[in-house]
């Protein structure tokens, strides 16, 4: 368990000249689950976006590698092919592009990247069926446009379904629990657990301990004002649930 899957060093990034990430350090090894918590606006989604290659953000310093490859030099699609997956906090609706065509394009693009032949239609449909079962996704959604008119919960389920299809090495789940009802939360978290192996890793971004009851983290980090200001074990999440962020804020802001 010593090899590094993700290594982020002193990563700085911003938008329109405004710095949001102010020196992030984070190392993740295969098999690990890391939770990232932190107050609203602290930069959690920005960190996810920067790692996935969201063009809105500009990296101003530092580095990030995935399996030793310079992540920041890759296009978003190649980051995906290299095994990065981001479950969006706000999944995007794409009118006119059906889920089936979207997934087929995604699967075959990855196969092409890996030098494999495109999947046959039968094989593909079989796989879609199997992966839908992971999160109990209604198969009617498959013929609809991507996320269009999906309920909040359906969108989140759909994200994890895509994760199941793409079998990433590193998944970043940005508030996947928000919008899910109690049963759905259990099903979706169960799906994430089913996909867990010794070779992949997960970053879970959440505000609530509830999700971490299902997806047990090995490490918990607190992101505040664009920096990881505190790291600990699973007990840290329980502590936050109880005490809120004030003590962390005081500690950090007081240091200045």
């Amino acid at each position: 368990m010593s090899e590094e899957l993700l290594k982020v060093s002193n990563l700085r990034a911003g938008i329109d000249g405004k710095e949001i990430l102010r020196g992030i350090d984070l190392t993740i090894r295969p098999g690990e689950v890391h939770a990232i918590m932190g107050p609203n606006g602290s930069g959690k989604s920005t960190l996810s976006g920067v790692l996935a290659g969201d063009p809105r953000f500009t990296v101003t310093g530092g580095s990030a590698t995935l399996g030793g490859k310079d992540l920041l030099a890759l296009s978003p699609e190649d980051r995906s092919h290299e095994g990065l997956f981001l479950s969006f906090q706000y999944p995007v609706e794409i009118p006119g592009v059906t889920m089936v065509n979207f997934m087929r394009a995604a699967v075959n693009a990855k196969r092409k990247y890996l030098g494999q032949e495109p999947m046959s239609a039968a094989e593909f449909l079989k796989m879609m069926r199997q992966k839908r079962a992971v999160v109990d996704l209604d198969n009617k959604l498959a013929s609809r446009s991507v996320n269009e008119g999906f309920s909040g919960g359906e969108k989140k389920r759909n994200e994890i379904f895509q994760m199941a299809v793409l079998e990433p090495r590193l998944s970043i789940l940005d508030e996947t629990d928000s919008g899910l009802d109690i049963d759905a939360l259990r099903i979706v978290a169960g799906g994430v657990n089913k996909l867990k192996t010794d070779n992949n890793a997960t970053i879970v971004i959440t505000h609530y301990q509830r999700l971490l009851d299902y997806i047990k983290p090995d490490f918990v980090h607190i992101l505040y004002k664009g920096k990881i200001v505190y790291s600990g074990g699973p007990e840290l999440a329980l502590e936050l649930e109880e005490k809120g962020y004030d003590w962390i804020k005081q500690q950090v802001d007081g240091e200045k």
Partner: protein
Amino acid sequence: MTAAESFGQYLEIVRAHGGSKCPKAVEGVVREATERLPRAIEAYRHDPEDLDSCRADRIYAPDYAVNLDGVTMNADVAASFHCGVPQLNSLLCVYVNDSVHIPCAGKLPAGLEIYPLRELPEEYHADAAALAKNTSDSPAGLIDTMLMTDGFYIRVAAGAVIDKPLQIVNIFNSTMPLYTSRHILVHALENSQVKILLCDHSQTPQTAHLNAETVRVVADNGSKVELYDIEESSPATSRRWLLEATQHDSSNLTVCTAFLRGGITRNEYRINVVGDGADTSLSGLAICTGSQIADNRVTLVHRGRHCRSRQLFKNAMFDESTGAFGGKIIVEEGAEATDAVQTNRNMLASPSARMLTAPQLEIYCDDVKCGHGATTGQLDERALFYMQSRGIPRHEATMMLTQAFMSDVVDNISFEVLRQRLHVLVEKRLNGTSGSCDTCAAACRTNISKEEQ
């Protein structure tokens, strides 16, 4: 040379030749157009028509030859071609440059008659002349009429319902720049129904071609006319396409044009709804790359009462391409309960692409429902990133979004085989897999004799 100078030259060439060899049925029409031409050119010189003059100058820049004697060209080409929209099983007609070929002549269903204008039976001369009459003052249009050496006359008998689509394949084949003046006259008599598909192809994609095609339709009471047009020619082609249609009581006209490949295209729709209770649907899609220009101009006049019209035009513009849409709806006095909607949506996929829109409503009647909207937007960057984050390369994601953008125009087509085919053609166009006749997605080159079996 400017367009106005070219116009003058074509007139001189025709005069020096002692006129062009026009079909007897339309002699009067051609003479009248030729007589009105000098003044039209003069007027144009002072006030170039709305088609901005530099574009007209670009269209008329090549030194096109004209086929004044109506010499029949490349009959063998006609014989070896079929634009195979699979399972379309169409009645085939072919325009090779401006020569009319009717391979389907021997197997026309009852109620459908098709003639080359040159061989038109006497009894239809008056009808053809009425259809062909050119009332516009556009010098370009008058020259088209002046150069009419042949054309199709299509007549659908009262009550005849023609299921099989009639397909006219426009083929361009010439080693020298050529001006082809093509004319298609359609008369759908009472309660008849017909579907017509036009396809443009160039077998000599390097050669400059001025493809001037005029389609004139009269839809009698209760008739239903569907007209589809797919342009897949070459960047060396300039096309001026005119549809002029008159709709009578309870007639139904559906038109859909798809600009997939070409150089400059200007499609003009002049629709006159004179009858009551008529329905009109006009739609068009254009996918432009490079320095292509696609320009759609609609003038829809509602005179009858209780008529409904829908327009949906969409352009997707890449590179340095230019798109234009000018849509005018005129609701005349007395055209009560008119329900007219016009929509123009455009997507600019490149910062150097341009789109000009000019929607216009002129309403002279109180009791109407009219709406129009024109929007031009960029590619949805959020959607692109979402797709890329799933591993879909950016160019492919762009293609998928463009295809999605166009899908409602294609989905509007009720003629199923064509709808499916057009979805594929749009996809192939965006993939860049068509472009010359050899690779054209329409997959021609199926021998007609095979089709006939």
